[in-house]
Symmetry: C2
Subunit: 208 residues, 2 copies
Amino acid sequence: MAGGAVRTETRIQREKRERILESALEIFSEYGFRGATIDQIALASDMSKPNLLYYFRSKEDIHATLLTRLLDMWLAPLREIRAGGEPLEELRGYIARKLEMARDFPRESRLFANEILQGAPRIKPMLEGELRHLVHDKAALIQSWIDNGELAKTDPFHLIFSIWATTQHYADFDVQVQAVLGPEQSGKRRFEAAEDFLEHLFLRSLRP
Amino acid sequence: MAGGAVRTETRIQREKRERILESALEIFSEYGFRGATIDQIALASDMSKPNLLYYFRSKEDIHATLLTRLLDMWLAPLREIRAGGEPLEELRGYIARKLEMARDFPRESRLFANEILQGAPRIKPMLEGELRHLVHDKAALIQSWIDNGELAKTDPFHLIFSIWATTQHYADFDVQVQAVLGPEQSGKRRFEAAEDFLEHLFLRSLRP
DNA sequence: GATAGATTTTTCCAAATAGTCAAAAAATTA
DNA sequence: TAATTTTTTGACTATTTGGAAAAATCTATC
């Protein structure tokens, strides 16, 4: 049946693959690609290793699937910056959305951070293609706002980098943040304080 | 000879241990602790694995030695903030020093980032002790400047976090920064632009 | 309830990897 | 230079790990 119909996924397949990806996200984000083992993921998924390998051909395969899914989600907040909006409000919204992602999806943030930190062996092409393109696009938009006098003069690229850095820091370096602030301060409180701080920081420097 | 004299390190020991640490920094910072192998480090140090293990008892031991050495260096810029100095100038200097470290010691930055990202299994005590203490100390100093009206109202802790995040980003996420900016922009140029940007960003928001 | 197809388990394997040990070689000291 | 100590090597081991193969079991459908 060469080139024949691709059998549609059964319910069990969908569910198990989902379960595996969920566990894998947990494990990969905590230990990195090499630090994670298939056995760990299988255990966390409540299935045997060979069984897991029935749903994914390899460890690579699981990892690649996670990264691919992640990327769209990861870039969404940036995409949402609208040319038609009020510049300061658009950027405030962007910062808030990025910080929400760090708060609600810290494992995804760490998965991504692990990948980049190790030289992005698996997503370099995407960084140099899609990401680069999107950032240039939005940087041009920000530049146009600056040229219009709606924003203070600044470097749009480094502005974007510093928004990435500061927001993701709360997910990626969470242990450190908690160690410094002490465990008594709740996660919610930490993120509220972070949001207040970041809005002030960026908006003060962006107001024309 | 229980409790006897600790033989002083020979020249060869000093040199070889140094060579191993240098290679290990290279490898660990690129692949993380689990991703790195003793064989890789031995190869990079130009010696056999058993020979390397003659100088360090284990992989752990090498890694621990690197981290311990790193920590002092890592906190130095923060320590240098002086109560007697001019607040804005002290903070400008701090940002500049941190950015220089990201530029001149990216491998150290990545080693540290790898460790934190994986939950700081080996340096958590130090984060909760020495680091926490130092940060609280400097945060109090910054707060006193704010109370004196020498700085704008802001959260000193999140200020420090965001300085860490933005400066280290240029070391830890270098692949991504380069992918976005393109390879034509030299490292030097990138860091100059970053410094300009960060000074504006922080100083505008800190001026009373 | 027989059968084809999907799923799961049991058993296995080969490569990678951290680390050991004893003997050889080199360097240092007496 | 002989004795002693330090350094290096080669051969080896035990364990972990990613993955394969095939048999066994389950499930949906006729």
